[in-house]
Subunit: 364 residues, 2 copies
Amino acid sequence: MGIGDQDDRPAGASPILAGKTVISVDAMGGDRGPAAVVAGCAISARKNPDIGFILHGRRDELEPLVARRNLGDRCVIHDAAEVVTMDAKPSIVMRRGQNTSMWSAIDSVRNREATVAVSCGNTGALMALSMVRLRKLPGVNRPAIACLWPSRNANGYAVMLDVGADVRADDSDLLQYALMGASYARNGLDIRRPRVGLLNVGTEEHKGHPELKSAHALIATAAVDAEFDFVGYVEGGDIPRGGVDVIVTDGFTGNVALKTAEGIASMIREFLRQAFRHSFLSRIAAILAYTSLQRLSQRIDPRRVNGGVFLGLNGTVVKSHGSADATGVSAAIKLAFQLAHAGFSDRLAARVASTGHPQGDMSS
Amino acid sequence: MGIGDQDDRPAGASPILAGKTVISVDAMGGDRGPAAVVAGCAISARKNPDIGFILHGRRDELEPLVARRNLGDRCVIHDAAEVVTMDAKPSIVMRRGQNTSMWSAIDSVRNREATVAVSCGNTGALMALSMVRLRKLPGVNRPAIACLWPSRNANGYAVMLDVGADVRADDSDLLQYALMGASYARNGLDIRRPRVGLLNVGTEEHKGHPELKSAHALIATAAVDAEFDFVGYVEGGDIPRGGVDVIVTDGFTGNVALKTAEGIASMIREFLRQAFRHSFLSRIAAILAYTSLQRLSQRIDPRRVNGGVFLGLNGTVVKSHGSADATGVSAAIKLAFQLAHAGFSDRLAARVASTGHPQGDMSS
């Protein structure tokens, strides 16, 4: 079966989605299957009357799920027969993935039916397909994946990029990451004037790789026109400390830092559970402290910061964890809505295009 | 005043230190001053009858502290008039630091009065002085700093190197880190056959920088003769997961990962404290769970894994946190004792020298 064989008019024209901010959702890619994805859509739909969905996947599987969740008046299904598996090779998906739900979800952004797509699927394949179908923004050399970190900042988050789109980044790539990250913080986190830091092994000017020194100079120069504050070098310990909203680094370092932090947080959560099971008194304590511990657990719950965002393409793609449950999917959709609603894709494009041109769009 | 003007015979010959495993301690470098360092020595001395100290610093300050802690029969003081401050430039210390306690502490290793030195001082200066006074081991291109991570491993720790001696590392450097790290795990953590992993952004063979692929091949080849198990690529999340005892990476990535993990752990500890202060019930709970929470707190207490170790020099130097209190200093001294007692410096030298020579010392 082809893609969208019953829905090949632009979805924006569908009366169901009229007046809604439309998110394109790959319903098939996650480890938990389409039921978790549709359940996540339902959570978001309940909280937000302005959201609409294009769901991509097997119509015969999706229709009953949509009916059960009462989403019939909020979403359109684009039929796609195939699924990109977690172990699929990106190069194969790029050549033969035309009938997959992932391809279809990205093409809804390409066709301007939606400005943001969400997928829980294979990251490598999603990045590769996004690159070939959406293409890089003019002026962007390396697209990046940005993610949110828990932080002591007032809004609770900091943005880090790149966390794994490309293991390399030269000085001008790092400058673009700074511009894209600042724009993302402005549109995704409502931070009017983001504070941008460059990740290094010390805050002294003489430390680090030569390309970092050069990037430091480029970002400092660009900060004035791009309306962010450059706080200079930051270290790993500064990421959750607050004081910085956007942390710029190459995809190798960012990926290691992200996965290390997730691993440490997960270990501490496990130790904490063990501590509360350790004795009779500690079990009682766990009951008494239930509300407070739930609050703690929410503050460091990786599902609540679920959603890496691909930046630097003609359109925005939100990558949700493969293992995301309904709560995780809903968090990714919330982020996608915020970005779509803010007109982020167009603003980011304007920002990148205006680098070095002070007459550019200053609101992006 | 010169260094050791009253103690210029080898300290090993001092009757006070006869039969003891002698640790050379820079008593002046830490943020908390010599009182915390001497208090740390006293904790270790109480627990371990076989340990002796050469304390380096201002005799007039150290003598009363040593007397108060009843350490007179366990240590010798080497008088050193000057202190390396935390903001001192390594290049200046290398040229003009002859009268500092740090220089004196390293020279006790150089003179074979001790095989391991401990300092809470300025890391950059300590590394620079260690390099010029102890010199690199034959066959080592880049010395490394190794540190311990909390882990789900049976012994509770994993070793990571390099965490900041040098921001660069090529494939042969990474091979040497694997050899040195395995030797450290064997002698410092009593792991007979360490499992060594190479840090990357994915466990698939095709991922990462080209020098990582080359290092992967070199380490896999060396593993047989060097008697460790090479588990291949590991990711950031694998560091605390268990399953790997030695994580090999360049000093830039390792330093970012270490500081990020410390920052995340510190943030979670703070959130946990807030959670227990949040309500009347949670305060009661904190009292009931006191013992269990103390146990948790100890498992993730950075003071208990205090001590980065400089590897690849003619002698071993343990760097304690600048802010270490008596508990932290004592942890660093315990590690130094274990390494000195195991004859680690000589074993490591033999291991590095035997790379590629199967007839080398297989016990190191």
